[in-house]
């Protein structure tokens, strides 16, 4: 092959750069919008938990059902990659929630919550579980797809536990700011800093 050492080095650099950018682009195309969507859902949901505790359950229900439907449509519309095994990730999320819901349903009758203070503590912990379960899914999914998901999952989990222990009365506001903020921030980071085209592409 009539290629000089210099040309070979340039070609290898070009391949490395294209592969690196492709991995990041393909992994999160569409996912950036979904991150932002769920960040907004968390902000609205946790704000409702703090300011509208009587109706927050219904607000969360509407937000989550709407969020799941919107996420499916957004990923179908904007995903970069079509994979025969893509259904496995959706199935994993579905089964995870099925298992958690099953145990919540089985354990709830044995929880004896007395008074407003215990009730508030119960809902704080329930909110923390609801926040960390999807974060666990982020970590597991990230082990296969992209390390960023692992760090987001672990980061939000730490923030959640920290808020649960330290900021008891303001836990829901803390979650709206840190949990929702982290998801929105990740979506914006992926969209504007990470998903960059290759440097040059002539010919």
């Amino acid at each position: 092959m009539d290629v000089s050492d210099e040309e070979a080095r340039k070609s290898l650099d070009l391949i490395q750069e294209a592969a690196q950018r492709a991995r990041q682009w393909f992994a999160f195309a569409g996912g950036d919008i979904v991150f932002i969507l769920w960040g907004v859902i968390w902000v609205l949901g946790y704000l409702s938990s703090h300011f509208l505790p009587r109706v927050t359950g219904w607000i969360w229900l509407v937000l989550v059902v709407g969020g799941v439907a919107a996420s499916v449509l957004l990923m179908r519309r904007y995903a970069a990659v079509r994979s025969p095994g893509g259904w496995r990730i959706s199935t994993f999320w579905f089964l995870l929630y099925l298992y958690v819901s099953l145990w919540v349903w089985l354990v709830l009758p044995f929880l004896k919550v007395k008074g407003a203070e215990e009730s508030a503590a119960f809902w704080r912990h329930y909110g923390a579980i609801a926040a960390t379960v999807p974060m666990f899914a982020y970590v597991v999914t990230g082990l296969w797809l992209e390390n960023l998901l692992v760090w987001v999952g672990l980061g939000v989990t730490v923030l959640t536990v920290l808020g649960l222990i330290v900021l008891q009365s303001y836990f829901f506001l803390w979650m709206a700011a840190t949990g929702g903020g982290a998801l929105i921030g990740t979506g914006l980071f992926v969209r504007y800093r990470w998903r960059q085209p290759c440097q040059t592409s002539t010919g």
Binding site: S4, S11, A80, V81
Partner: protein, 92 residues
């Protein structure tokens, strides 16, 4: 065939996916900062060589074009990559 910079980038990008995974044409175009016509022409060359497979579908009544590297294309890219490495290491 593969040594041309745009085609090399196309193959490098496709090689990050699994053998059965396909990438959307518009994402590939944006990733490579190419125009529709430019990318289309290079894909056609690769398709004619049997290095990629192109599939056209409709999603929500809108046409979408999906691209993937074939086994032949993967072998050709791997061979070219190995050759480049050997040149850099001084064994060619």
């Amino acid at each position: 065939m593969i040594h041309q910079p745009v085609r090399l980038r196309i193959m490098a990008a496709l090689m990050t996916l699994g053998p059965k995974e396909q990438v959307d044409f518009t994402h590939l175009r944006d990733l490579l900062a190419a125009t529709d016509g430019n990318l289309g022409a290079h894909l056609q060359r690769l398709d004619e060589a049997g290095y990629i497979a192109v599939e056209k579908t409709f999603v929500a009544r809108k046409p979408r074009t999906w691209v993937k590297a074939t086994g032949l294309g993967r072998d050709a890219f791997a061979g070219y990559l190995a050759t480049l490495k050997r040149i850099v290491e001084g064994s060619v």
